[in-house]
């Protein structure tokens, strides 16, 4: 009797742990596509290739979903896949040119971001490279905050701010009126200010 009880207890525990890190492929695109795309494009500098890599990442994620142990957050896990895809992309293009392979990641342990080659030759006093890295991080911070917004707000904010669409076009496409749009923009912006506050709104 005791054994049964403790078994069901651990099972419940497992379920709770799983609830924290569980794969949810239906939500991948809405939650992570822009985040991954931003990560890829800041390293590849070609929108088409970046787009392909993001798509391949999702497909590879789906394929190896059964190997997902749940010890990393979903997004971290997807980024890890994308990171390999970016490295593979550079390996392929390098070998095509018959050049030596360039290792892109500094270390397997960190999620360090930036251009390895550039940093190796960087002038430590120059702030240009650091600015570029900071901007990459900023872009990722903003995208992860957008992903936390309610879906409709995130969509309107993205269309307006990132795609730069005008109010009328968005209203037509989403079938809303301008005052709806501005309410959603207001909520999105307030949400983002709160989300980014801790790191980026320092005085």
């Amino acid at each position: 009797m005791n054994v049964v009880l403790s078994k069901s207890f651990t099972f419940d525990n497992d379920k709770n742990n799983m609830a924290e890190h569980v794969l949810n492929p239906e939500k991948w695109i809405d939650s992570y596509a822009d985040y991954l795309f931003n990560y890829a494009i800041s390293r590849i500098n070609d929108a088409e290739i970046a787009k392909d890599l993001v798509q391949e990442t999702f497909l590879a994620g789906l394929k190896s979903a059964k190997n997902y142990k749940g010890d990393a957050a979903e997004r971290t896990w997807l980024i890890a896949i994308l990171k390999r895809k970016v490295i593979d992309h550079y390996r392929k293009t390098n070998s095509k040119k018959g050049r030596a392979e360039v290792r892109m990641d500094y270390s397997a342990h960190t999620d360090a971001q930036g251009d390895w080659l550039e940093e190796q030759v960087a002038d430590p006093l120059s702030s240009v490279e650091n600015d570029a890295i900071e901007n990459q991080e900023l872009g990722q911070a903003i995208h992860s905050c957008i992903a936390k917004l309610p879906k409709k707000q995130a969509l309107v904010f993205t269309m307006k701010t990132i795609q730069g669409m005008d109010t009328e076009t968005i209203c037509n496409e989403l079938n809303i009126n301008p005052s709806n749009l501005w309410v959603m923009i207001h909520r999105a912006r307030t949400g983002l200010m709160g989300c980014l506050n801790k790191n980026w709104f320092k005085p």
Partner: protein, 76 residues
């Protein structure tokens, strides 16, 4: 002439996308002169716009996302 804080926030949001009229901007200026709370909102909102520009944000189009969703659904 004095507008509400809600109206001021709306004009401030429009300003972030260069969609506020001259008259609206004047009303906002006047409001900010009189209001205690709104200047902080305007400052933070403007900062958010600056951050978004600095980050040079990129995103996939809705069509791309729809296509990926379809593909993911087919494969799952």
């Amino acid at each position: 002439m004095m507008i509400s804080c809600e109206k001021a926030a709306l004009i401030c949001n429009k300003t972030q996308y260069r969609e506020a009229t001259f008259m609206e901007k004047m009303k906002l200026k006047f409001h900010l002169f009189m209001c205690k709370n709104c200047p902080e909102f305007v400052e933070r909102n403007t900062k958010l716009t600056a951050l978004c520009q600095k980050a040079n944000l990129q995103c996939l189009t809705q069509d791309d996302k729809r296509r990926m969703k379809r593909l993911l659904k087919e494969k799952s």
